[in-house]
Amino acid sequence: MSDTVVLVLTGMLAIGVPAWTVWGIWRNFRHKPTRQSALANVLGSMAGTALLGVVLPAVLLGALDPFPIWLGYAALTVGATTVLGWRWPALRSGKWRHPGLAITSCLLLAVLMMAGVAVT
């Protein structure tokens, strides 16, 4: 994985995660997706934010302090989760066998395992 690939992937993640999160907040706040769909969105945001928490320190090595930057992502994700909690009673209940939910759950688990290795 070359430095260029790392930078491109991190850049995509850095833009994609907040875009995904803001879209999720807007959708969960203004519309009524199923709970499973809304939860999948938030789990995806958490996976992306956790992954950024691992890669940002390495990518920004010698350049910027990753903490305040990552804090912005984390605040957005916590906001999305809070909105989900707030809207939960109002959301429609769908099927728990939701493909998006399965994918984001696995993604979050994988990222947390990787992050666990990275930070311990």
Partner: protein, 386 residues
Amino acid sequence: MAAVRDDGQREESSRYQGSAPLPVMSRRALLAAGAGLSAAGLLALVGPHPVSPASGRTGDPALLARAEPHLRGLNRVALAYLHGDTTTYAGIGADERTLFGIGSLSKTFCGAVLMDMVLKEEVTLDTTVGDLIDADQSDLADVTLQELASHTSGLPDFTPTQTRSRNLWFGLLHADGARQDAADTVIDILGQRLKGRGTFSYSTAGIALLAHLLGRRAGTTYKKLLAQRILTPLDLTDTSLPVTRAGLPRGWEKGLLGGRPAEPWTLNGLAPGGGMWSTCADIATWMRLTRDGHQPGAAGLQPVAPAPILPWMPDAKVAITWILATTPGGEDLIFHNGLTGSHSSFVGYCPRTGRGLAYLVNSAPTGAQLLMLQGDLVKTLLDEGA
């Protein structure tokens, strides 16, 4: 009406009708707060942390008072100030015996081994790679040891294999990741194409190749050669070259990456270019020996090529591993610094005034901190004096 809420529309209308709004609000607030706190807690477990100064101050209070304004945002720092024959130490959460990874300062030790072998006529600066190893198929066959030692060989900083390893292991997993031993490293580097030969292009791979070639010429490993020629004779007892994690010195501690403890960069085959560990006391001795011409590497301090470090040091030049530049106050400065994922270092002295500064830090500084350390701190201590 408030007990089952799977239809948001009915819930909204019930609230406005004034029927039992408090339990609904309380439940929603509890859910929202619980979800938000859970997410915050989970993310806090895996995300970066702010870096704050470690407790405990050591060494000379006057030196620390001069230096501390320029050490903001660092966790553990050990620094040494050299003036004439006097060396003064100060530290935050560390002292002159605390072990740190010194990163690319390791390169100056490789330069010293080279110059020792030049002085003993075992090699010359014009000895080529092809003179020391079968390199007929390599672009590097006629590259000289001086080119390797002065970063003018045209080699990249790291080979693609080494970059991949660094990004995947050190970057993604913050883990020990150097898989190439010395032999694999040499083969990998000999397979590289050269680009911009003759001009300065910083190369850790080039120094690693130089080190292994010197070891080969002496009929031993570079690690043993370094100990025999430099570390033992100069009594640098707390300085070592751990090639793998198992070789880390007793008492080593993890540095910080993103405010969290991170695996040290034990670089295996690349270790001669950035894998050494030392203490501030040993590094101060190294600086004094270099300044006073008492270590072999001091014979290699003549400029070899321009090495502009933009935008701060446009007139810098490279010698045998050392960089020749000027302080913010315009004094000639001979220095080298080092940076790993979790440690950083600096050694620099002014030949005219005899002042020198060395610092070791247990984290990689940000760009702003680097300016503070190599700009403000250097100005304060080397231009103005402690």
